[in-house]
Symmetry: none
Subunit: 419 residues, 2 copies
Amino acid sequence: MSAEIICVGTELLLGDILNRNAQFLAKELAALGIPHFYQSVVGDNVARLQEVIATAAKRANILIFTGGLGPTPDDLTVETIADYFQTPLTERQEIIADIQAKFASRGRVMSASNRKQALLPEGSAILPNPTGTAPGIIWQPQENLTILTFPGVPREMHRMWQDTAIPFLRSIGYGRDILHSESLHFWNIAESTLAEKVSHLLDLQNPTVAPYAGEGEVRLRICARAKNIEEAKELIVPIAAEIKNIVGLDYYGSDDDNLASIVGKMLKNRGQTISIAESCTGGNIGSFLTSIPGSSDYFWGGIVAYDNSVKIRCLDIDPTILATEGAVSMAVAEGMALGVQSKLGTDWAISITGIAGPDGGTQTKPVGLVYIGIAKDDRTAKAFKYLCPAYRDREYIRTVATKHSLDLLRRELMNSQKN
Amino acid sequence: MSAEIICVGTELLLGDILNRNAQFLAKELAALGIPHFYQSVVGDNVARLQEVIATAAKRANILIFTGGLGPTPDDLTVETIADYFQTPLTERQEIIADIQAKFASRGRVMSASNRKQALLPEGSAILPNPTGTAPGIIWQPQENLTILTFPGVPREMHRMWQDTAIPFLRSIGYGRDILHSESLHFWNIAESTLAEKVSHLLDLQNPTVAPYAGEGEVRLRICARAKNIEEAKELIVPIAAEIKNIVGLDYYGSDDDNLASIVGKMLKNRGQTISIAESCTGGNIGSFLTSIPGSSDYFWGGIVAYDNSVKIRCLDIDPTILATEGAVSMAVAEGMALGVQSKLGTDWAISITGIAGPDGGTQTKPVGLVYIGIAKDDRTAKAFKYLCPAYRDREYIRTVATKHSLDLLRRELMNSQKN
């Protein structure tokens, strides 16, 4: 028994998009313990898609398709599958009703072309798409062969996989041995340094420990195979504890935690509030903090002071200091943090001022130079210098500066006793 | 004549890595005008790799392999290809010498296992790897079939592609025709509606026109095949003009444009400035506007007024209006836009107040309800209601509300004459 992933879309053949869907599905199949030996990519073309189906149907028992479920004429996955298995399409009224309701909720009327999305092979079950208009199918067109289809939009596909595909695959006997993993997240430590510190754990067989890096962050994934989640957790817990013990403060959270959710939890537990004053990040810290549901409990708001006039007018920065020290300086970072803290009346405040590039750098203040201010609940402020390597681009500098500012706040919160 | 990409590696089947090599090669093949209809991924397994070779050799003339060229026992791409075409391997002394030199330059001695990398099929040419130890091959094992192999390491593969594969493919007649494309971006129109409006263009052969959708946006990609970029552009220009003419204001930009860069260009051309007042988006509009290099020419900053106290204190919102109309209302959206415009002294301002969820919705003000205010350069303000469908999540609502606010600004800028 094995599965095969078939991704349909000319945009994949043109290299317009990266095939993240194949990676997602591959990981999920591994987690369910379903063997998977081949992946195919084919364009929006009936004859070639039929050839891929013919090849895959001979060597696999579960065919998982992504892409080509939309309303336009080049979306032909479902009709081609039906045609290959010589099965007529039937119109499903419940899908028409669902699409109409989704259009109506946006004050729109369903287009005639969307009717096509309601045509599914006779005998197939609907694989519901709660967040989009294109439903998938679960279909057994012949003995020992099951077909699942998903739209190419990753967000919709993930939800359908979680809600319906996993329970279905478990119901037919997969996923008895499960893979369960915990991710540990670190900030301010290089992947190679981290790997050296825990090198004795990287050869373990069960659980396995593997490092990943991205956008300034490093993660360790601890992955256990067991009969059930409880047994898997028992394998993971001591390893996670050992790693946290070795690494110390550079570990900041696990799994779905991010730096915004972690400082949010800490502030909420203390019953304290925070505001932000942003220059080069333009609102990025505020946006990140408020990406957490319930952030209104501790986040009050802030000032985006991109232009110096706003730093003076809204944050009471002394124009003389701007002239002597420059907008990108320790003094201005401290002043911005204290300014917004006092204007908004919050317990804590973070500020960022820096040079995100690509222009605006000088010999003494290069692109990538960032000052971060933290105003503490004792009404004092500290500023920190952060220098991003010169080869990084504007978005990387802004993203990493944003995360670093929250990490600095996290460390200050840990150091301070609530009074 | 067509090419097929075959990526070899169990790590791809486990989902441990994203298949960036397939995207790189797909783009390169498109740029050279080499048709490419299939991609396959297979693990480090002799029998399955042979099956993939057999299928691909029947339907393509150029097989491009990545992965499995290393020195370890699970690297078996070259020997499996040779075996499939019943050709013996011969040891190449120049490769042994090259690997030894590369080891010596790092003060190391070549491992015995590296000798394996010098074994290439009789009759094949070496595809040199200047930055690694694993060479590729260029080989014609039978008439009308050419095989190229590359290591899986992207950096090594890219260099080998540039240095040797492109000149080789040009020498055998490819790269005379090129593919060139232009993307048109739309806002506030459903993919199905757009596709119906331009349905007569979706069947064109050269250029082709295809729709794509994602995060509230719709795109049309016009792709032409021609002798050179100039000729391709000549094919694209009239189609692009026709589409823009049919669709009108819902078209907002092309290729690398986004809504932030488009309103930025308009403001810069007018010599005008903008500020933002954000509630539920928490700084997202500011972050998006400042993602554009040079945005300091027109973006001054703003107020993130997440908590009502900040709306009152920093934006002069009347507490009575907050009490009677609620924070999520037309009146508050207008007041926020006028408030930040006057505080910061900018020509224009945008505001957003809404319910991003998952909690906080009511019968009359559901999750997804957003009011957007635009303060214009004549000091008047307009507010717009935007309702995101209930099935969308917090991040989608915030992202789409942000983009929609910039689209509303764009339309207001187009309607207004600069005075």
